[in-house]
């Protein structure tokens, strides 16, 4: 027993950091209805600001920390609330998820551009000398550990007291309860929300800066602090700050004890870091639908956006565009060769990835943040099947099919709750898979490598290119067929008004799970192809961070049409291949993150602005008679209400 006590001490320290991060996350979610995936990234960037002030400007530690905490972080809060969320306006839940992901990718990319991708060591702020815990022999605690735990506990008590006893706290709770009534009472809900964003960002910065001396200044690890806070936030049902903080301490201690228990067993080494997601999954699995009520503002906004989103989604098969695309793809080998053909092959496979992702993001407004994992498993499954001497083409299909059960595991518990939880669950699961599943023999195994030999028939680059084109084209056609099908209509309707669809006797969960599985299958298919292209992949080939990047690229380019998927693949794959400067790859995440924030509210991203030729509309413009017949039908169908408003 005694040998575990030092690990409890370490666990309390990390738990304190998680508690501070989670408290800020829950605070902003409660008051604004926005679940901020960029919460960790804000803290991370505040830590970079601190580092810059301290090293480049040679400030003292105290003023540098003070500026990062009390100037930069609150300023970020104001910027988010007054600029980003005001710009997004009355958007739906998926829009907020995507915009905050954009923020995450943007800030993380910016930190890398600013200071490079290295991890910097930072000297401890607090004395590191140890003292004995009175009454417990053999357990030593550093002053730093004691202070950080003290800060977290004090912050928890202060927050609770703030809500319970101050008039601003009362007003904040009033806003959480009923935004509209608060304004009718004469209090600006906007002001209260801004203040809570300032406070939330402050907590993000505080947790990151306190963590930096032990973790190092690392843009990825600090950004992922939001992931670790997830489990605790879910335990607090995204509303209770005391429960959230207590759960964060428990997770910190649990992690630390797991480190001790797992020891050096290599297969289980990912288990401790995955504990928050395991907690998240257990909670999602056992939660009832009513456990997690959406804040009033989120509900309001979803209702408003439903009325506004008229143009989202294609209703007919874009036959002309498909033909054009296939024609263009077929002549590529005549134009390019060598490594450029390799780039083209990747781009075509990425069109399939984006098309499958668009099925979720664009059609049913579901956010999947583990698409890279599906792609990765598509490749590793193929590798395993080929090793068992399954012929290539059946193996490719089977490999993709085997990805589907994974999709089911992630989707079912979360989809029945709400769209936000699918995003949370996939976010957590992507990381969990990378830490726990990838090292097993089900994926990469101990060698961390999966080789995917090319079949003899497709050994040549041109032959393989055509195979990828054929499979990707078939996949894209499936996606477009699905969009135009009854299921597609159901999903579009579900994105607008789940209640209305349920009242028609349609099971919303089943429809959403089915489309999620189709999407996972197609992503797995693309993964098999991309694995075969490079012939050997590693766990980092499709790092889970890629999932986030893909979502931002697709949202920026346009998630609900084929054109958007093509544009996304072009921006991500072709642009850096054409302009071969390291600057391009460096600035890509920054640009995509920013673009995702800007275009998140448009139903089809940039493609909303680029009008694709719509043949039937063009026909209506040309033919006066067809136009008026069409208008008359529309007017008739909705009883005299202007057509656009009724959708």
């Amino acid at each position: 027993m005694r040998q575990y006590l030092p690990f409890v001490v370490i666990g309390l320290f990390t738990g304190a950091v998680y508690a501070l991060a989670a408290a800020g996350l829950v605070l902003t979610y409660k008051t604004s209805g926005v679940f901020n995936f960029g919460h960790g990234a804000i803290g991370m960037f505040a830590a970079y600001v601190f580092y810059h002030l301290k090293t480049a400007w040679a400030w003292g530690t105290v003023p540098a920390i003070a500026v990062a905490l009390f100037v930069f972080a609150p300023f970020m809060g104001v910027l988010l609330d007054r600029v980003l969320f005001r710009w997004l306006g009355s958007a739906g839940l998926a829009t907020y998820v995507v915009a905050s992901l954009g923020l995450l990718v943007f800030l993380q990319g910016l930190a890398v551009v600013w200071k490079g991708g290295n991890t910097y060591r930072i000297n401890p702020f607090f004395p590191t000398n140890t003292f004995r815990v009175p009454g417990v022999s053999g357990v030593y605690v550093t002053v730093e550990q004691a202070l950080v735990v003290g800060i977290a506990v004090a912050a928890g008590v202060a927050l609770t007291a703030f809500f319970r006893f101050t008039s601003l706290g009362l007003r904040t709770r009033a806003v959480v309860n009923d935004r509209e009534l608060t304004s009718l009472v004469g209090i600006s809900p906007g002001l209260v929300t801004t203040l809570s964003w300032m406070l939330g960002c402050f907590f993000a910065a505080l947790s990151a800066i306190l963590f930096v001396p032990s973790l190092g200044l690392d843009s990825v690890l600090l950004t992922l602090l939001v992931l670790t806070a997830l489990g605790a936030a879910a335990a607090g049902r995204l509303t209770s700050i005391p429960i959230t903080m207590a759960a964060a301490f428990a997770i910190g201690v649990g992690q630390s004890l797991l480190v001790k228990a797992v020891g050096t067993r290599s297969g289980l080494s990912g288990l401790p870091t995955s504990l928050p997601f395991i907690v998240l999954f257990v909670i999602l699995f056992f939660a009832r639908r009513t456990t997690f009520a959406l804040p009033s503002r989120a509900q309001e906004r979803v209702a408003v956006v439903a009325a506004r989103r008229g143009a989202a989604g294609v209703r007919r098969m874009p036959v002309a565009q498909l033909a054009l695309l296939a024609g263009a793809a077929l002549i590529v080998p005549a134009v390019v060769s060598g490594y450029r053909l390799g780039t083209a092959t990747t781009a075509v496979a990425m069109v399939l990835v984006f098309s499958s992702l668009g099925l979720l993001l664009g059609l049913s407004r579901q956010v999947s943040l583990c698409h890279a994992m599906f792609v990765s498993f598509g490749a590793t499954n193929l590798s395993l099947l080929l090793r068992s001497h399954v012929p290539y083409l059946p193996a490719l299909l089977l490999a993709a099919l085997l990805v589907v059960p994974l999709g089911v595991i992630v989707a079912i518990p979360s989809i029945r709750l709400s769209g936000l939880f699918l995003a949370l669950a996939t976010f957590g699961f992507g990381k969990l898979a990378q830490d726990v599943l990838y090292p097993t023999s089900l994926a990469f195994g101990a060698r961390s490598l999966a080789s995917v030999p090319r079949p003899a028939a497709f050994r040549g680059p041109v032959a393989f290119y055509y195979l990828v084109v054929a499979v990707a084209f078939a996949g894209v056609v499936v996606v477009e067929l699905l969009k135009a099908s009854r299921l597609g209509r159901t999903l579009r309707a579900l994105a607008d008004s789940p209640t209305a669809v349920e009242s028609l006797g349609v099971n919303p969960v089943a429809s959403r799970v089915i489309v999620f599985c189709v999407s996972a299958f197609l992503a797995g298919l693309a993964g098999g192809l991309m694995g075969t292209l490079v012939q050997s992949i590693t766990p980092s080939s499709f790092d889970f961070f890629l999932s986030l990047l893909w979502v931002t690229v697709l949202v920026a380019a346009g998630a609900s049409t084929l054109g958007g998927s093509v544009l996304a693949a072009g921006l991500l794959v072709v642009v850096p291949a054409v302009i071969t400067s390291t600057k391009v790859t460096e600035w890509q995440p920054v640009a995509f993150g920013l673009a995702a924030m800007i275009f998140a509210q448009l139903p089809n991203g940039i493609m909303t602005l680029v009008r694709m030729p719509d043949w039937s509309a063009a026909w209506q413009r040309v033919s006066w008679k067809a136009h008026h017949q069409h208008r008359a039908r529309e007017r008739h169908a909705v009883g005299g209400v202007p057509a656009g408003a009724a959708r």
């Binding site: 008039s167 009362l170 007003r171 709770r173 009033a174 959480v176 309860n177 009923d178 509209e180 009534l181 608060t182 304004s183 009718l184 009472v185 004469g186 209090i187 600006s188 809900p189 009325a307 506004r308 202007p642 656009g644 408003a645």
Partner: protein
Amino acid sequence: MLVLDNVHAGYGRFEVLHGINLRVPAGRTVALLGANGAGKTTLLKAAAGLVPVTSGTIRLDGDPVERLAAQKRARRGLMLIPEGRAIFRDLTVRENLAMYAGNRNVGAAVDRAVAAFPILKDRLAQRAGSMSGGQQQMLAVTRALINDARVILADELSVGLAPVVVDEIFEAVDVLRREGRSLVIVEQYVDRVLAVADYVYVLHKGRVALVGEPEQCLRDSVFDQYIGAGAHS
């Protein structure tokens, strides 16, 4: 005094109010009647700032307020008690009263509330949403009593309440009238509201169809057409 002059308002591209003219003189009570969907609630919301006004002016004691946010109009003495139970359900009764009181003395607000509705005295520490519907509505009406808003817009105060409770609510409305506040009341019990109203406005499809004093209206056949002959029997 509240004056709406040619007010157009609606939700997005849906225009609900097509040019409303309405005058609520100081200390007077206006009954706002009309069928479902006539625009009564939208009119009150537009006046209070919850629905944007696309054109026209709204003047509160002579000052245009149609561009002000809801909370600013509230601070100038224009109060809307929206339909449903307009209370903070997750806060206690005392906390609700503290919210209503704003910068004023909370103790005095509690006293005033308890004087009007003695039953609230035992409920002060209770979560407001856990009270009965009638008690919740009493709490909602208390907001007008403890606030010195000059113009009060009340939307369907009696909906879903037992007749005894409706009596109590209307007693409170009477108190507000005697205090010299201006009131706009949307109400399903036409007779009850006509008994207290100085003027009647009948809305039809987003337009004012009829204006007059209650007795005058009751004699008007047009009134019967809009409200239904049986409604005030």
